[in-house]
């Protein structure tokens, strides 16, 4: 966790009501410089509302937001100039050409000198892969390309903080990979807050993950630590060909009586399947292999459930639901 004084962004008791509905409920967040923070949560959890308040689009119902010790709403304009924001599904001006749009954004963000504009455009074109679309109307671009133009918009002034709201939603796998690689590249130097409901994305790109559900923070930890917590309840899946269920169960139980072995649904006919939970969270796969090796049974599957983050996510968000 980050200390409040060192935090680049510090959010205290942030709350937002839409009439009577509480979309964000007393959220506390702090983001350290250089950190890539993943804001995770199911649809409608309050991620977008939180980011909209953070970027100055929505006024919070209550709570405090400070960025580099500047306070909202007093210093909102200054804070906006420190941030680059890519809203969900990159809403842009559809009737403009990409080049004209970038010129407009550059001017609004204070890059007036044409030479400086061109220098910045060259960097952004390389980084976001815009070279072939600069003269095209935004309306004719695919979703992935629009997203890239949105990223170029967000990074126009090379801001210290980037806020990306579901940057890969609705993209195909190739486009997702491209956008992720761009985020990782930028993340080497910048502080990034990225919201997503895709867990693998958060796992692949973020240093720290905050899980939000129903407007509340339900988990806030480093990605590695969250994954470890998930692994504590890891399950080994075993599928055997040869024995009947009772014989196999007896043999496995003879290994260590403390093992929690449960029969599972067989994926194919002629297989017996088990889910094994080691009590002390150790890896029991080698023990199982050595034990089975003594018989003439065939191991068809022996694997640890690896989607630890998904599990934590489901636990936290279902409990609340």
């Amino acid at each position: 966790m980050t200390h409040e004084e060192d935090a680049l962004i510090d959010v205290q008791d942030l709350t937002k009501y839409y009439n009577d509905f509480c979309a964000v409920d007393h959220i506390n967040l702090s983001v350290a410089p250089g950190e890539i923070l993943g804001l995770l949560g199911p649809n409608g959890a309050g991620k977008t509302t939180t980011l909209r308040m953070l970027t100055g689009y929505f006024r919070p119902s209550s709570g405090r937001i400070s960025v580099k010790h500047l306070q909202m709403p007093k210093d909102t304009l200054h804070i906006k100039s420190l941030m680059g924001y890519l809203p969900e599904s990159a809403p842009l001006y559809h009737n403009m050409l990409v080049y004209d749009y970038l010129v407009y954004v550059a001017r609004i963000k204070g890059i007036i000198d044409p030479d400086k504009q061109m220098a910045r455009f060259r960097t952004l074109v390389d980084l976001c892969g815009l070279s072939t679309i600069m003269d095209k109307p935004i309306a004719t671009l695919s979703k992935g390309l629009k997203q890239r133009v949105g990223l170029a918009h967000a990074m126009m002034t090379d801001p210290e903080i980037l806020v990306l709201d579901e940057p890969t939603s609705g993209l195909d796998p190739n486009q997702i990979a491209e956008i992720r690689s761009i985020i990782r590249q930028i993340g080497k130097e910048k502080t990034i807050i990225v919201s997503t409901h895709i867990l693998s994305e958060a796992e692949a790109t973020c240093d720290r993950i905050v899980i939000i559900n129903k407007g509340r923070v339900v988990a806030d930890d480093t990605t590695a630590s969250l994954k470890n917590k998930g692994l504590q309840n890891s399950v080994v899946r075993l599928a055997l060909k040869g024995p009947d269920q009772t014989t196999a169960l007896d043999l496995l139980a003879s290994m260590d009586p403390a093992l929690d072995i449960r029969p599972a649904q067989a994926k194919e006919e002629g297989l017996v399947c088990f889910e094994i939970r080691p009590p002390d969270n150790r890896d029991v796969r080698s023990d199982i292999y050595l034990k089975i090796k003594q018989t003439d049974w065939i191991i068809m599957e022996l694997a640890t459930e690896t989607q630890a983050l998904e599990k934590i996510f489901q636990q936290l968000t279902r409990q609340e639901a």
Partner: protein
């Protein structure tokens, strides 16, 4: 200040990127041209009084058509979020859009400058009322643009924005002709609220500060209302 300029320039250019500008300008010229010249030769008067007298009513339909997209479209497409999270204030956005719409209205009026030139070939045109009329037309357009902008800020549906805008502008245009139905005590007050009487003074070549203040007040009231709506919606 520079932010207002950038937004105004972008919005003004936007009109000409889409066919809207050309359609609106062409329609405006056909409507005003037809109504003006259809009776022009009957009266044998080398002036533009008839042109200016129908301008308020024409503006009350054309200007809401110009302003209806300014906020409603941005809200609908979602680009309003992109715009508001850039380092610009509500005031910059509202004023930028207002100046763009007013400038476009001026551009719409520009081709009609040919009328006094043509008329001057067939008779002596008094330049005073013509110049006053155009100045008044700019004030009138600015006031109606502020009202249209306010209507556009209220909703994300352009058609609703257009109808509200028309209703506001039309009310101020015809209120002078409704005085007959008013109680005598409030006639003077209601008459002051009507835009037509103030505009008529301009088109007679009279520059009265009361008329100028009236139009500037309208702009200020509706721009401030727009600002309040923007704040309220976020």
């Amino acid at each position: 200040m520079s932010q207002i300029k950038h937004i105004a320039v972008k919005e003004f250019k936007d009109y000409f990127i889409s066919p809207i500008a050309y359609i609106v300008i062409a329609l405006f010229l056909i409507v005003t041209g037809w109504f003006f010249f259809s009776t022009f030769f009957i009266y044998s008067r080398a002036d533009m009084r008839d042109f200016f007298s129908l301008l308020p009513i024409v503006f009350s339909f054309f200007i809401p058509a110009i302003t209806m997209r300014l906020f409603a479209e941005e809200r609908n497409v979602g680009s309003y979020e992109t715009l508001l999270t850039m380092p610009v204030s509500f005031t910059d956005i509202a004023l930028g859009k207002f100046f763009a719409a007013t400038l476009f209205s001026a551009a719409m009026l520009l081709p009609t400058l040919a009328y006094p030139v043509f008329i001057s070939f067939i008779g002596d045109v008094d330049p005073g009322p013509v110049a006053g009329g155009y100045l008044g037309a700019l004030f009138l357009a600015a006031a109606y643009c502020a009202m249209g902008l306010f209507a556009s800020a209220l909703t994300r549906n352009q058609i609703i924005a257009f109808i509200i805008g028309c209703a506001l502008c039309f009310t101020l245009t015809i209120i002078n002709r409704m005085l007959f139905f008013m109680p005598p005590k409030i006639v003077a007050v209601v008459e002051y609220f009507g835009a037509s009487s103030h505009f008529t003074n301009f088109s007679k070549g009279i520059l009265d500060t009361r008329d100028i203040i009236y139009f500037i007040s309208l702009v200020c009231i509706f721009m401030f209302s727009t600002y309040l709506v923007m704040q309220e919606k976020n």
